[in-house]
């Protein structure tokens, strides 16, 4: 346990020192604040709070941005250290390989978590200081959005680790990371939509489509944030979807958690067999 924390703390300190934490926090805070102020202008008196608008717009942004940040942070984690020769020295110390992998993962996830909580928290703080009264339920949705964003970041960090242990070359690992991002974030939904249209409901029933959505961490995250809370669903126009999707918030979070655990476990197995 102690070894894990030592490695995680070093990774976090490296992140603080090479400005990764500062840069991503500033990026996320500026985007969150922009969306909050732009988004709160048109709500008027339609009956939705400014925080719900923020949750919808921020979670849509998170789906694109956070996986990219997480993958950029993690694709180099293993293959880069082997390349630079620091891994040989590290593994000559009294620690198991899974401890190295999990420790580094915890450190990187902490970087993502700090950037998300501080960056998005800035937007929340700005709204709290504003004049509009915000319901407790809205704050709940906002907190759930931040929490699930960290989980989404962790899932793509884990996928980045898998890319990093899969190959022997940094360039290839970077390529795989980009492919993961393109595949899950951009192409998956388009492909799924195309299939649904072409199939005309013969084999792809609503239930099958639902399960296919769970098979993508980005979609599980989207469903969780856009359908999980009533007020949010009304803004996003996904209120009806919530009824048909038929997944509880727990199931969606479990799917995200599985997307953290499975790639990480696979990466640990691959790394333990690696001949350094």
């Amino acid at each position: 346990m102690n070894t894990l924390l030592i490695i995680a703390a070093k990774e976090l300190r490296d992140g603080l020192r090479n400005r990764w934490v500062v840069a991503t926090t500033l990026l996320m805070a500026s985007l969150a604040l922009t969306l909050t102020f732009l988004g709160s202008a048109p709500t008027g008196t339609v009956g939705v709070g400014p925080l719900e608008v923020t949750v919808v717009s921020l979670s849509s942004l998170t789906i694109f941005l956070l996986p990219l940040i997480a993958l950029l942070l993690s694709f180099d984690a293993v293959v880069g250290e082997i390349d630079r020769g620091t891994m040989t020295l590290l593994l000559s110390y009294p620690l198991a390989r899974w401890q190295v992998l999990l420790g580094k993962f915890l450190g990187h996830t902490a970087i993502v978590a700090i950037a998300t909580v501080l960056g998005y928290g800035a937007a929340g703080a700005a709204l709290a200081l504003g004049e509009v009264e915000i319901a407790a339920e809205s704050w709940q949705a906002f907190a759930a959005m931040i929490g699930s964003s960290v989980l989404l970041g962790a899932a793509f960090t884990a996928l980045g680790y898998l890319a990093s242990t899969l190959v022997r070359d940094r360039g290839t690992a970077a390529g795989i990371a980009v492919a993961i991002w393109l595949g899950f974030v951009l192409l998956y939904d388009m492909g799924l939509l195309g299939l649904v249209v072409a199939d005309e409901g013969r084999t792809l029933t609503a239930e099958v489509v639902n399960w296919l959505l769970l098979a993508n961490p980005a979609d599980a995250y989207r469903l969780f944030n856009l359908t999980g809370f009533d007020g949010v669903g009304r803004v996003a126009g996904t209120g009806g979807l919530a009824a048909t999707a038929g997944f509880t918030a727990g199931t969606l979070l479990a799917a995200l958690a599985a997307w953290v655990a499975a790639p990480l476990a696979l990466a640990a197995v691959l790394f333990s067999r690696r001949q350094i």
């Binding site: 030592i6 070093k10 020769g85 620091t86 040989t88 020295l89 110390y93 198991a96 350094i276």
Partner: protein
């Protein structure tokens, strides 16, 4: 583990990458308080052998016990607490300071970081340098820091892979002083090098490797006897003493003229004493005499030639 158990015990150890053998059928025993040198070309299998002993790679064939355990097994993790390793090319995170770096490795090894300043001083890193980022270090300073991390936690077994590359002669001397001190305290030291001349007088035993195989093993004296390389006796004669040169030719052994009036007589090692005695009996105008033993470099070249001929 008793005192008589060897620190490293390898039998028929092989490591294959694809269809290429990096290490092939190596037997090796290292005892406590021994300093053993592993010599060979680049790619002779020295680093591959060390990686096997550290448990970084797994064996293809053979058995290997390090400090009584299988290094790539479950017990290998705890075993590495007693091992120090200085890799051939040492790489540290350039954004850390020397002190932070050593503290990190000390915590990983479970050694009290309170002892780190003394350790850094022992390897000759100035307190001023210790506070600087490693990115600003010279090659020699990084190598000293590398040695410091290898010495963490009082290891019983030290692997030093090309430890003196990039060090100036003064540093080399202090480096070998440290190694000698450790060996005398009972640590097993395995030194890899191709700077063979500086190993003379440091290593109790030399193991010559070539293309993954162990070619020869023994003390320097044993290797000399095995190699049967000629001993050369160099005589400085005054100018124009052709008579003396002719007289020398009659002594047996082959004669070569070198620059500066120096004549070299090569003879077998067994005949060395006899040859000097015969020289002394003749009343030759010798100004200076020097006996040159075959160096480790020459022996190494000899063993490789023999290996190639087989």
């Amino acid at each position: 583990m008793t005192a008589t158990t060897p620190t490293v015990d390898a039998a028929g150890v092989s490591k294959r990458y694809g269809d290429r053998y990096a290490v092939r059928g190596v037997d090796l025993t290292l005892g406590a308080g021994e300093c053993v040198a592993l010599v060979g070309h680049n790619g002779a299998g020295k680093s591959s052998l060390i990686k096997l002993m550290l448990g970084l790679t797994t064996l293809t064939e053979g058995t290997l016990r390090v400090l009584g355990h299988d290094p790539s097994g479950r017990a290998g993790t705890a075993m590495r607490r007693r091992i120090g390793f200085l890799p051939e090319t040492i790489a540290f995170n350039p954004s850390m300071t020397g002190r932070e770096c050593l503290d990190f490795y000390a915590r990983l090894k479970g050694a009290p970081p309170a002892g780190n300043p003394a350790l850094l001083e022992r390897v000759g890193l100035e307190p001023e340098a210790v506070r600087r980022r490693i990115g600003t270090y010279s090659k020699g300073m990084r190598q000293r820091l590398g040695l410091a991390q290898a010495l963490l936690g009082e290891p019983r077994l030290l692997f030093l892979d090309e430890p003196t590359t990039g060090l100036d002669p003064a540093l080399r001397q202090s480096f070998y002083d440290i190694v000698r001190g450790l060996r005398d305290a009972g640590t097993t030291v395995l030194l890899c090098s191709h700077a063979l001349t500086e190993l003379e007088g440091q290593a109790d035993r030399v193991i010559v490797m070539n293309r993954g195989r162990k070619v020869a093993e023994g003390s320097l004296a044993t290797l000399r006897t095995l190699a049967q390389l000629p001993v050369r006796i160099r005589l400085t004669l005054p100018d124009g003493s052709t008579d003396a040169v002719e007289a020398l030719a009659g002594l047996g052994g082959s004669l070569t003229r070198l620059a500066g009036g120096v004549v070299e007589l090569a003879c077998a090692n067994d005949d060395k004493v006899g040859m000097v005695r015969r020289l002394a009996c003749r009343d030759l105008p010798v100004q200076d005499i020097e006996i040159v033993q075959p160096s480790l470099d020459e022996m190494y070249a000899h063993f490789l030639r023999r290996e190639a001929a087989e």
